[in-house]
């Protein structure tokens, strides 16, 4: 999947996006912390043996948590061991913009769905993204934006009777 070895190793960088080493270490530390948290919470619940139910509720997760923390520590150790071959960047500076152009609007979109239901934010999100990122003609944006929402409404609410999130605007329409 990733091919950091095949690329020529760049000299240590001081600014810009983090190197693979930094990311590997960070994720490994998160795994250790999460594993410890899981183990602690399961220990609190009871991770031993009960005469009534056999293994208590925390029995399995406690061991899983400890193992996960151990695996995280191993990844951390490997990263430190191989740190000289992990100097390539996690992401190239030119790649950050395109990733964020879809990641940030997606987050805003989900936030909007929370307040306004799915239909209106979907129209706005698709149409704006097509217009601003794709530089497509406005009528195409409106057509796809409204069209996919109508299709969704028919398929989910009418055909399969699965309700989708609705907000004040749909209420106003009496849906």
């Amino acid at each position: 999947m990733s091919e950091p070895e095949s690329e020529p190793t760049k000299p240590e960088q001081t600014d810009g996006p983090p190197s693979l080493f930094v990311m590997e270490t960070a994720v490994a530390l998160v795994l250790v912390a999460f594993g410890a948290l899981v183990a602690w919470d399961s220990y609190r619940l009871g991770s031993g043996w009960s005469a009534l139910t056999g293994p208590r509720a925390g029995y399995f997760p406690f061991r899983l948590g400890l193992l996960l923390a151990f695996c995280g520590a191993c990844v951390l150790g490997q990263a430190i061991w191989k740190r000289h071959s992990l100097t390539t960047r996690f992401i190239e500076p030119r790649q950050i913009r395109p990733v964020l152009t879809v990641a940030l609007p997606s987050a805003v979109y989900v936030l909007a769905v929370q307040w306004l239901g799915i239909y209106v934010p979907s129209i706005v999100f698709v149409a704006l993204f097509m217009g601003l990122v794709g530089k497509l003609r406005w009528w195409k944006c409106v057509l796809v934006g409204v069209g996919h929402v109508l299709l969704m409404f028919w398929l989910f609410e009418k055909r399969f009777m699965v309700p989708l999130p609705k907000g004040p605007i749909e209420e106003w329409f009496g849906l």
Binding site: V27, S42, V102, V126, L136, L164
Partner: protein, 506 residues
Amino acid sequence: MEEISLLFAGFQTALTPYNLWLMFIGISLGVLVGVLPGLGGPNGVAILLPLTFTMAGTPEGKTSAIILLSCIYWGALFGGAITSILFNIPGEAWSVATTFDGYPLAQKGRAGEALTAAFTGSFLGGLFAIVMITFLAPLVARFALKFGPPAFFAVYFLTFASFAGTSRSGYAKTTAATLLGFILAAIGMDTVTGQLRLTFGSERLLNGVDFLVAVIGLFGLGEIFLSMEEGLAFRGKRASIDLKVVLRTWREFPRYWRTVVQSCFIGAWMGIKPGGAIAASFMSYAVARRTSKNPEEFGTGRIEGVIAPETAAHAAGNSAMLPMLTLGIPGSGTAAVLLGGLMMWGLQPGPTLFLEQKEFVWGLIASMYLSNVAGLIIVLATVPLFAAILRIPFSIIAPLIVVVCAVGAFTVHNAMFDVWLMLIFGVVGYVFKKLDYPLAPLTLALVLGDRMEDAFRQSMLGSQGELSTFWGAPLEGTLMTVGIILLLWPALSKGLRWLATRGERT
């Protein structure tokens, strides 16, 4: 030959106009999902699963629902080849090996031949696997009926051990991903004691983390973020398949019988084991090159180089249904989602399925024969259409896929919280893919976590806490021992090699 009569009954179930229509829809959607970046087998099925809840209310409805969802899987298997050959972009991980010779063929203007060969190989591989399932599955199920909880735990253990032992991502990362899946599965109310686990006081985590939400985020959104890095400008070759090209390719096809046969066996074998289609396609390509008279021509546009990975991927994808139906252990990520679907419809996957749900099981197996034929016809007829879909700018496809993912995540439990979770899983999926953490064992662990824990607890209860129960009978003992060997295999083989080289030196 009880199987034959059951199979014919299955054909009667599957051969209704409604089910044939669902087959057509499923395969078309599947090809679409396989062609589009950001959507794939696992999350395509995951997004459509909630739509089948109302469908699966009746026994016949359950059969129809599994036909629809499994056809999406077969369609996705076919669809991956289209992008690989025409655009040099593998639509699915299992069609990466198809690009090696498929794209050079397309550059030479032989895209039509390459596609026909790929589809035909896929068809034969699929057929081989289905015939195998027809005759082997009832035997395996009958055998597995004798399994007690320790044996089931041993089978689960073997499954995950073989993942860790064969993964290209390395031990620590594969195990970490698997454990993460188990832990996520443990969140929520404990079914035995009723206690709340790992919810940290949040009511929203009461029902746990649904694997569908995780799959949609990890595979769907994560993949979109990854695709965006390259800005994604598709520049593909044109392909027109007419009857003349198809017939010419078919006339030459018998020449490649050896490649087809060995790929069928590799695929069927790899598909039964977890890890499945992806490994099978690479392995089959490597074997085809090694056994070829002129291996140096591979990579420049050999038809065998397309047939081998596609045949194996299809054989593996289909035979992944064997352990899923008989043992309740899916052989691939998509099969894991299908298995999750069965559980949501109230079916108990495992050996009893063959006894108690005869109509369902044989309806599905019969539909696999039919949909394999239907799939071949549909993809041959619609390649230009799907190639045209890939020419749609990514600035239209990307937001639409985000919307589809959001809808898919919401409809699982009608909960907005799941949409947020999906967003988080999207980021996690992106980071994990970039750092080479495998996502398939995570999904599998998330789906199987509860069942594996139940098997463990029941065995422990039965033995009063003695771990030796897993070696208490020959069956369990063998399974556990094989599991441990598989788990330690990379280390063992390294050690053996080290011993061997040391022996040479002295």
